[in-house]
Structures are given as C-alpha cells and as structure tokens.
C-alpha cells in the first residue's frame, strides 16, 4: 500500500448559507485545491459525500463538481452514509490512493438543509434510523440519543449538568473558530434552562442543523513531497458497524462501531489511545461525546463524566476534545461533517489553527458516525 497524505483542506463557514448546494461544495473544493497548491487537472477522482441533496433539488453531485472544476472527464463517487458520510467518503478516497489507483483525489462533503425548516429536517433525519422500529414509532434523532442519555445517566450516576458541561466546553472552543455556526458563549444554566427537545436532552444539548461544505486533497507520499512541505500523513484508518436499531444492542451506553473502528485504526497506526494528542469526535448531542471518548479508549467506561468535570477535555486539558467546537458549536452539515473534522486536524497539525491551537500536538484523531452509530469511521493523522 502507498503511504497516504492530506496536502490541502478547505471549508465554507458552517451555518445558514444562501448559495446553492453545488456552489458551496465548489467553494470548499476550490479552497482545498488552492490550499494544496495544485491544479484541478492533477486530481484523479472525486469523492462527494451528501445526504439530503434532494432538499436543494440536486443529487448526483459528483459530476457537477468535477465539471465545474474543469475536469468533467474525472470519475466521481457520490456517497451517503447518514451523518457519517464524510468520513466514509474519506475512507474510500484513502483506500483508492493507498491501492495506487490515483496519485491525488478530492474528497468534498456538503449539506444544505436549513431553508427547509425544523419539521422537514426532523422528519427526514428520522429516515436515517431503523425506520420501522424507530422513526416509524415517533422517535426523532434527538429522541434516540436522549434514550442513550437516560440510560447513561442512570447507569453511571451522572447528571444533566454533566451533559451541559460538554456543550459549554464546545461553545468555548467554537468561539475561537471563525467558521463555526454557533459562536456564542453559554453557561451550564443556559443549557439547563433551554427548551426540552426530547427529555432529558434540551435544545443546547443538541447540535444545530447546518449548511456547509468541507474538502480535502488526498494523495500519495511522492505527490505530497513534490507539491508541499506542510502536509499530514494518514497513519490509521478503521471502520465498524453496529446493530442499526438501539433495541438490537445489548448495552445502550456504548456504540460498538466506534470500538471496532478505533481498534482497527489504532492497530494500523501501531499506537494506543494514550498517544493521541487531540480528537475531533462525533458530538451530535452532548451525550454522544461522553460515550465516544470512552469507546475511543481515552477514558474507562463511565469515567468520561469525571474527566469532563476536571476539564481534561478542554483546549488546555491533557486530551482536548473537539478543539474546532465540534458538531455542537462548529455545526453539523451532515454530509460535510466527517471531512470538516479532517480539515480541523489538518489546520491543527500544519499550524493554521490560530487561537485554538492544541499545544505541541503531533497526532490527531477523527471519529464520525452515521445515525446512532450504526456506521462509523475513525482516522488517525500525524504531522510530518
């Protein structure tokens, strides 16, 4: 297998965007191409992740993006894997470069849904569940994670205040990120007093519905050395699955796919969780971040709450989690999120993260899943 590197990264702002889905995808793609210092004609293929293109009357985005980059002959793949689409797409791009099919490829993730309103998005997002048992019995996505939260709080004697601490921390980080959707300092009381969406989760426990696009240029080591001095290398890549419905899982307070993906990625990288300097994890809801950082091996099961109370996951803690602000504050354009996490790792490890730089970081991890963790991908990167 070829060594695989990321030599360019770009993102639009996340939030409510006016431009069309195709335009925002192109803006991020052009950013990534310019960041890499390459020409579009050097791109061998495109990997385009998106879930609800239908909301902006455009699916099959791959060929549109390649055509508008002036490379209509380049093959593309349009990928949907719910909220985990971006990282799954990155994995496909990674695998194709590692296998030697292409020297360099583009991976772009995009979503445009905010113009449809809360009812449309709540309804359509519920189609990502095992609909017969979950969405089709009135479960919204906040409701599914709220069910995980209630089980977690009961099993580990944690409180709703503990969940709120995750939101407060991620908003503090997002304040330092000019591209974040919700740039607003919040307090534990703000979270506790926000309207209940699906008990025990309140509005400020939930990430927003966002529009946005993120893109990266992935290439083999020779291409990277020929084009750039400031790039990162992919040292671990793992994927995993879980029973699609929550009822299919023996334990509701852990996500099996995260463990499987993380173990594969750590094994490939030849490292352990202790070697990770920071991580971008899938915090679609506050409860998810607690479950994630345990399943990723940063803390023992049930001990994440204590770590969060002690500030260990803050930007200046010993394992900063979501320096970008995470899905909670940076935003969650679902097709783009997994790529956006990699953009953050690229910025962190190449000295572009400005005020939110994690001190002395050499190794970063991304963790992104679809639905309630039915599908998951974990990637590990190092500076070179």
């Amino acid at each position: 297998m070829e060594k695989v590197c990321v030599i360019g990264a770009g993102s639009t702002k996340y939030g409510k965007l006016e431009d069309s889905i195709t335009d925002i995808a192109l803006q991020a793609s052009v950013d990534a191409i310019e960041s890499a210092g390459i020409e579009p004609k050097e791109i061998g293929a495109g990997y385009i992740s998106n879930v609800f293109g239908i909301a902006d009357k455009q699916v099959h985005l791959g060929p549109l993006i390649m055509s508008n980059l002036g490379i209509p002959e380049a093959p593309s793949l349009s990928i949907e894997s719910a909220c985990g689409s971006g990282s799954v797409s990155f994995r496909e791009a990674y695998a194709n470069v590692a296998a030697g099919f292409y020297d360099a490829v583009l991976a772009t993730g995009v979503e445009k849904v905010t113009h449809t309103g809360t009812e449309w998005t709540t309804t359509y997002f519920s189609y990502c569940s095992d609909f017969f048992y979950e969405g089709g019995a009135g479960a919204s996505f906040p409701g599914l994670f709220a069910s995980m939260a209630r089980a977690y709080l009961a099993e580990f004697k944690a409180s709703e205040e503990d969940l709120a601490l995750v939101a407060v921390k991620n908003h503090d980080n997002g304040l330092l990120n000019p591209k974040a959707h919700l740039r607003k300092k919040i307090t534990v009381d703000d979270v506790l007093q926000s309207p209940v969406v699906a008990s025990p989760l309140k509005l400020y426990d939930c990430c927003p519905f966002s529009d946005g696009a993120s893109a990266v240029i992935i290439c083999n080591e020779k291409f990277a050395k020929d084009h750039s001095k400031n790039y990162i290398e992919v040292i671990g890549s793992g994927r995993g699955g879980s029973p699609a419905a929550l009822q299919g899982r023996e334990r509701i307070t852990t996500i099996p796919s995260t463990k499987i993906a993380a173990q594969a990625a750590y094994k490939m990288a030849g490292i352990t969780p202790k070697d990770i300097d920071f991580a971008e994890v899938h915090d679609c809801f506050t409860i998810a971040e607690l479950v994630d950082i345990e399943d990723l091996g940063f803390f023992e099961k049930g001990r994440a709450v204590e770590a969060v109370r002690q500030g260990r996951t803050r930007l200046n803690g010993d394992i900063p989690i979501n320096p970008s602000g995470g899905l909670k504050s940076k935003g969650h354009p679902i097709g783009a999120t997994g790529i956006g996490q990699i953009v953050e790792v690229f910025d962190q490890l190449t000295g572009k993260a400005a005020e939110r730089t994690v001190k002395d970081a050499k190794i970063g991890l991304t963790h992104n899943f679809g639905a309630t963790g039915a599908s998951c991908a974990v990637h590990i990167f190092t500076s070179v």
């Binding site: 017969f132 048992y133 479960a139 025990p200």
Partner: protein, 134 residues
Amino acid sequence: MQAAPSTYSQVYKLLAKDEFINNAKLGKVLARKCSKCGHLHLVTTYFCQNCGNKAFENAIIEGKGAVVTYTIITVPPEGYEKYVPYAWVVMKLDNANLRISGFMGGIKSPADLPLGTKAKITGYDERGIIIEKL
C-alpha cells in the same frame, strides 16, 4: 432430482412484517429463533447474527417486559404533533434476551415512567408499535 428452491424464495418467506404487525396487535412479538444456535432476533433479520445460519423457526413471545430506557418527545417528526408529549421506549422482554422499542402515549414527565416500569405491547397503528404501562 428436485431443484432446490431459490435463495430468493426462501428469503422472501422471511419478509413477515405483516405477520409481525398482526402479532403486535395481539400483544405478542413475532421473533425468529435460529434453528442452529437458538439466538433470538426480531422478525426483520435474514441471517443469524450469532452463527450466520439462515434457517429460523418462529417464536411468538409475550409482549411484556420492563422499560430499559426512553425519551419524552416534545419536538416531534411529521405526523406526531397531535400526540406530544409522548414517550418512545425501549423495553426488555421478560423471559427472552430480546428488546423491542415503540410508542407510549400519556407520558408527560420522567416521574410518569421510572426505569424498570413493567409494560406491555397493546397494538400497532399509525404510531407504530404501541407500548403501555402495565
């Protein structure tokens, strides 16, 4: 020699959502019990998740159990506005290593439904599987 039935026709017989729904209306859960290892699955599975075997026998289980977790929905998906607030619950069935989830009306606050509350399936309609407190 008689031709073996196609894989598709064997699988097709497993597509028993209607039968599952009819059982739910009677307060029962139609499950699939692996004929090789005995592992229980809900009716929508095609292969045993434990041993990979494809042959199952029906197991009709009493739809009674205890609530293992739930949420109370206040911002509903389309079609559920008139039921708010309601609960979506996961219930562990008594006497079987199997959980099932569904809709529970009339739940306004966590005080209405402590974890472990005994509950039963009482029907199936446009809200999905209906679960009520015993």
